[in-house]
């Protein structure tokens, strides 16, 4: 064999770092040191960080010669979405199939909740309360407000229930199916504590199951009770964290749900144990197909709504989720990013000079204020922050601190979230039209192929370029 001195260069080898250990990589080492320091599990915000099969692993088969696309501007593509028409006197009617998920006042600032409500109303969709009750700002800002009924019972009362446009019974959450809510003491200010009838400044851990029911048989009675209280006016949703999706969807329907909400493992949180976030539940991609098929098998595709959530970011995600059987999607993290989460700056309206005449300045005029240093003080940086649990959100989204919360202008924030939701709806209809659909809900699994064997197996669509569906 020819001697190749260029391949064996002791000087160069010594200059290169040895490869990182796979089992004990840098993140794992940091995690061990963190646990050794804290003596408890790490807690953080956001959803699963790890790579799991997702909607990016699917592609749409848009029209060409065998089918015809619809024109973007002249030809109709409906996005209207109706929930609960079978039983509720006042069904939920949404202009777009994209909703805002439940996030508590407590986890989010009152300004953030108001901004989400305003944005949802601007685009004709719904927003959802959260584990902590309904704020007046949120109620008045929201055209359609879904009121959550959670195991903690925080802020749950008949008055607010009757003020709601739908009620969502939360059995679980994608970030922590089987676990309860968590709000650390630094975010439990006077107002939050008052709404939850708990002391200020104390860590709050919500129950992981509701005291009023264990199992779907009791849940059926609870749902009847809620229908009585609301005089059969509003739809009842049941939300589950995606684990045993087929069973859970069937049981939610058996208990009387008008809408089943399935939250995949990428679903976000304001504060949850890292081990929960990364190691429980199944990906949204797998969950939506299971849920859609369960409803189809029951023959209830039309009568019972399906909302899926967990890592939805783009109109392409929306289109693919609808194709796999969802009637709508629900977003949590993404609207927070639109509000300014993880941005290096926050936006405030310019302060007019003293004695100046009112200018009627536009709601959209703003100045940017850099807060990178505050991210650094939390030990993070814009683009990497998952520190919602600390309550020190530099852009005022996930905080109860008055100074920080004031950084989020609800009007400016709402404009951005509304723009984002409109863009998603436009992307969804663009893709649906390209598939020849006059309604986004007519997207179907046959419009999809998968890029990977894993995604093909989970979504039960063919691997691209083949007619092979793993397991079929």
């Amino acid at each position: 064999m020819t001697h190749r001195p260029d391949l064996i260069d002791p000087g160069r080898l010594a200059a290169e770092a040895p490869p990182a250990h796979h089992t004990f990589g840098p993140d794992v080492l940091a995690g061990i040191r963190e646990r050794a320091e804290l003596g408890r599990y790490p807690i953080r915000g956001w959803g699963a960080r790890r790579a799991v099969p997702d909607f990016d692993d699917l592609l749409l088969l848009t029209a060409s010669a065998s089918r015809y696309p619809l024109e973007g501007y002249r030809e109709r593509c409906d996005t209207r979405t109706v929930f609960g028409a079978r039983r509720a006197a006042r069904p939920v009617v949404l202009d777009i199939p994209i909703t805002i998920a439940g996030m508590s006042f407590g986890s989010l600032s009152a300004n953030a909740k108001e901004a989400l409500g305003r944005a949802a109303s601007m685009v004709g969709t719904s927003t959802t309360t959260g584990d902590g009750g309904m704020t007046p700002e949120e109620r008045s800002a929201s055209r359609t407000l879904v009121y959550q009924c959670l195991p903690s019972r925080y802020g749950f009362n008949p008055t607010d229930l009757r003020a709601a446009d739908a009620v969502e019974i939360v059995l679980g959450q994608g970030a922590k199916p089987g676990g309860g809510g968590m709000l650390l003491g630094q975010k439990v200010g006077a107002r939050v504590a008052g709404m939850r009838t708990l002391p200020e400044g104390v860590d709050q851990r919500s129950a992981s199951r509701h005291p009023d029911w264990t199992g779907p048989d009791d849940l059926k009675i609870k749902i009847e009770e809620i229908r009585e209280v609301t005089d059969w006016q509003i739809p009842v949703y049941v939300k589950v964290g995606a684990t045993r999706v087929d069973h859970d969807v069937r049981l939610a329907v058996a208990a009387g749900a008008d809408v089943v909400v399935v939250d995949g493992m990428q679903g976000g949180t304001g504060a949850t144990q890292d081990a929960f976030i990364e190691h429980t539940g199944i990906p949204t991609l797998a969950a939506v197909r299971l849920a859609g098929d369960a409803l189809a098998d029951l023959g209830l595709t039309t009568d019972v709504g399906l909302i899926v959530s967990g890592g939805i970011r783009t109109g392409a995600d929306v289109a693919k989720a609808l194709a796999l059987g969802a009637d709508a999607v629900s977003l949590g993290v993404a609207p927070l990013v639109a509000l300014g989460c993880n941005a290096p700056t926050y936006r405030r309206r310019p302060v007019p000079p003293p004695d100046s005449a009112p200018t009627g300045a536009s709601d959209s005029a703003y100045v940017e204020v850099d807060v990178s240093a505050e991210y650094a003080a939390l030990g993070t940086a814009p683009g990497h922050c998952v520190h919602c649990h600390t309550g020190r959100c530099p852009v005022g989204v996930t905080t109860q601190d008055d100074t920080l919360a004031a950084r989020l202008d609800p009007v400016l924030g709402a404009t951005r979230v509304a723009n984002y939701l409109r863009a998603l709806a436009m992307e969804t209809t663009m893709l649906a039209r390209a598939c020849g659909k006059s309604d986004v809900h007519r997207l179907e699994p046959e419009d999809l192929v998968a890029l990977t064997v894993e995604a093909a197996a989970m979504a039960r669509v063919p691997l691209a370029g083949t007619d092979w569906i793993p397991g079929r």
């Binding site: 089918r67 030809e75 006059s438």
Partner: protein, 262 residues
């Protein structure tokens, strides 16, 4: 994609000439659908005898010796008979083989197919026949949401024979008819239920109907005289019809149901 032709006699003295009229119409749309063809003929004489088997097309894979499909008279509608032929191969040769020009009847559909997404076999040929009343349908265009509708039909126990999109429409219409819709209502519903592009011609034991999708870019021409009404994909396919010079000729409007009943 395809060529369609349909003929409905108002004046049954033309009965003996129906086959020759349809043969000319089929020839006029043959180039639009070179891979297979089919014809459905309704007659008002009772008990149409079984049509002798017509040899299949040699050398076409998957279609060994497929005969013309003969459907005897429909007992549910006394006095009505329906005969259907569907074959892979050149439409004009098909017409000659089944002796189309010599066949009598009062109403007929003809189709020439350029397959889009489903296979080229006799079973995939139009006209599709569905339901108790043997509703017949020919389609030019393609549907974009038939997979979902096929699943819904399967949930009702209605199973399609092939993966063809047009077959779904035939069964869906038959299901709506069975649910009590008159043909006009069922066709109106179809225009809001099915996505895609379509000109459809539909016949039953007593009716002849035409409908187009809301955009109506698949061609269609209707000609009507006191004696007959015809629909074709291209005007030239009308040229051999007797009395065409006196016919009212028009393009059917989008989403409008045109229906003639005997």
């Amino acid at each position: 994609m395809c060529g369609i032709a349909g003929l409905h006699l108002k004046d049954h003295t033309y009965r003996e000439r129906l086959g020759a009229m349809v043969a000319g119409m089929l020839r006029g749309v043959a180039r639009r659908g070179p891979d297979s063809a089919g014809v459905a003929i309704h007659d008002d004489v009772p008990d149409v005898p079984d049509v002798p088997d017509v040899p299949g097309v040699p050398g076409v894979p998957g279609v060994p010796g497929v005969p013309g499909q003969a459907v005897p008279g429909v007992p549910a509608a006394p006095g009505a008979g329906l005969t259907v032929f569907r074959e892979v191969g050149d439409p004009e040769e098909f017409a000659a083989r089944i002796g189309l020009a010599g066949r009598a009847g009062v109403r007929a559909l003809a189709h020439t197919r350029m397959a889009t997404e489903s296979a080229v076999t006799a079973a995939h040929c139009h006209p599709f026949v569905a339901g108790e009343e043997r509703l017949c349908l020919v389609h030019n265009g393609s549907f974009a949401n038939h997979a979902t509708i096929r699943r819904r039909l399967a949930g009702l126990g209605i199973i399609t024979e092939t993966d063809n999109d047009s077959e779904v429409a035939a069964h869906w219409l038959a299901a709506r008819r069975a649910a009590g819709d008159d043909l006009t209502t069922a066709l109106r519903r179809l225009t809001t239920t099915f996505d895609g592009f379509f000109t459809l011609a539909v016949t039953t034991a007593d009716s002849f109907a035409v409908v187009r999708d809301p955009i109506a870019c698949k061609p269609a021409i209707i000609a009507e005289t006191d004696h007959w009404v015809a629909v074709v994909s291209e005007y030239q396919a009308l040229l051999g019809l007797p009395g065409l010079a006196d016919a009212v000729v028009f393009e059917p409007e989008p989403e409008e149901v045109y229906l003639w009943a005997s």
